[in-house]
């Protein structure tokens, strides 16, 4: 199973807010055994959808140079089950952003019905993790592109988001070397 709990961003305003969609289908494994005979989207994975939507919004504020992780779910309320065929819309907004982390408020809806309302805390991992990438930069850029971050993303003043040079360089290097080869020291 691939760890994507949103399908695509539909809005992305750097440093402020973002919206993403997730279509829930009966073909997805997480619906099989959670409540046998009654396929519903597990609330924990709805939280992960918020974490992915909010985490990328927070990470982008500093060009994904910090290692942003979900640290705490301060509050999570659920109002409606999510069933196969539903399309969830996650909306997140940054309440506070500081050096050591960020607080994000989020809602999820299906149509005009509220599914969940959450407040989550992200932490930026500190210097002990300096130089440790949570993702391979080239793969990470692929994920950002798949999710449409740079299709819908806008800066605070409305201009298209620019892909960080570090990620583009990693992507270019990976393309030269092929998907699984080791970095070539001679180059």
């Amino acid at each position: 199973m691939r760890w994507f709990w949103i399908d695509r961003f539909v809005e992305f305003e750097s440093g402020r807010r973002a919206a993403a969609e997730k279509a829930v289908t009966l073909a997805e494994e997480q619906l099989d055994d959670y409540v046998p005979g009654f396929p519903v989207m597990p609330a924990s994975l709805i939280i992960e959808g918020f974490a992915q939507t909010g985490g990328l919004l927070v990470g982008e504020c500093r060009q994904f140079e910090q290692r942003t992780v979900l640290a705490k779910v301060g509050r999570a309320q659920f109002f409606r089950e999510v069933r196969p065929g539903d399309v969830m819309r996650f909306e997140v907004a940054i309440q506070d952003l500081r050096d050591d982390g960020a607080i994000v408020h989020g809602t999820a809806r299906v149509g005009d019905q509220l599914v969940a309302d959450v407040e989550i805390v992200f932490a930026h991992l500190d210097d002990r993790f300096e130089g440790v990438d949570l993702f391979f930069p080239a793969d990470f850029l692929t994920i950002l592109r798949l999710l449409g971050v740079y299709d819908v993303g806008r800066t605070a003043d409305g201009k298209p988001l620019v892909i960080p040079a570090r990620l583009l360089a990693a992507e270019a290097a990976a393309n030269r070397e092929g998907p699984s080869s080791e970095p070539d020291a001679a180059r």
């Binding site: 705490k72 301060g74 509050r75 506070d96 500081r98 607080i103 805390v121 932490a123």
Partner: protein, 131 residues
């Protein structure tokens, strides 16, 4: 107008109840943040955010968490804060009651000592209070 001490306490209490999921009556002035209320390091990010919003102030991390002193070789020997270090801590955190820490100044004990009252006194020092 500056708030009263009671108003400061009530707002601090509300922030702690929301951030830590504790009951109203657990938040007493003497309660320690870590030991009694179960605050973990990540909770402080949440608490600071709520206090900033509640009081309209800015709280630099170093004012509440003097990590730079506690990791400075000049002020720490064998895992214990030196008398010079205690002087620095008192300077940085005049709102905190460090008498208990002075008796056993092990660095690892430091984070467990901050009480609700210390936090209230810190806020009071930032916003001023009416008697």
């Amino acid at each position: 107008m500056a708030p009263s001490k009671e108003e400061v306490f009530e707002k601090v209490k509300e922030a702690l109840v929301d951030a830590l999921g504790v009951d109203d009556d657990e938040v007493t002035p003497q309660a320690t943040m870590v030991g009694d209320l179960g605050a973990e390091s990540i909770d402080f990010l949440d608490i600071v955010f709520r206090l900033e919003k509640a009081f309209g102030i800015e709280i630099p991390r170093s004012e509440l968490f003097p990590e730079d002193i506690l990791t400075n070789a000049q002020y720490v020997r064998d895992g214990r804060v030196t008398p010079d270090g205690i002087v620095e801590l008192k300077k940085r955190m005049p709102f905190a009651d460090l008498s208990q820490f002075e008796a056993n100044p092990a660095v690892q004990e430091f984070s467990t000592l901050l009480t609700v009252n210390d936090l209230c006194r810190y806020i009071q020092s930032k916003v001023g209070v009416t008697e």
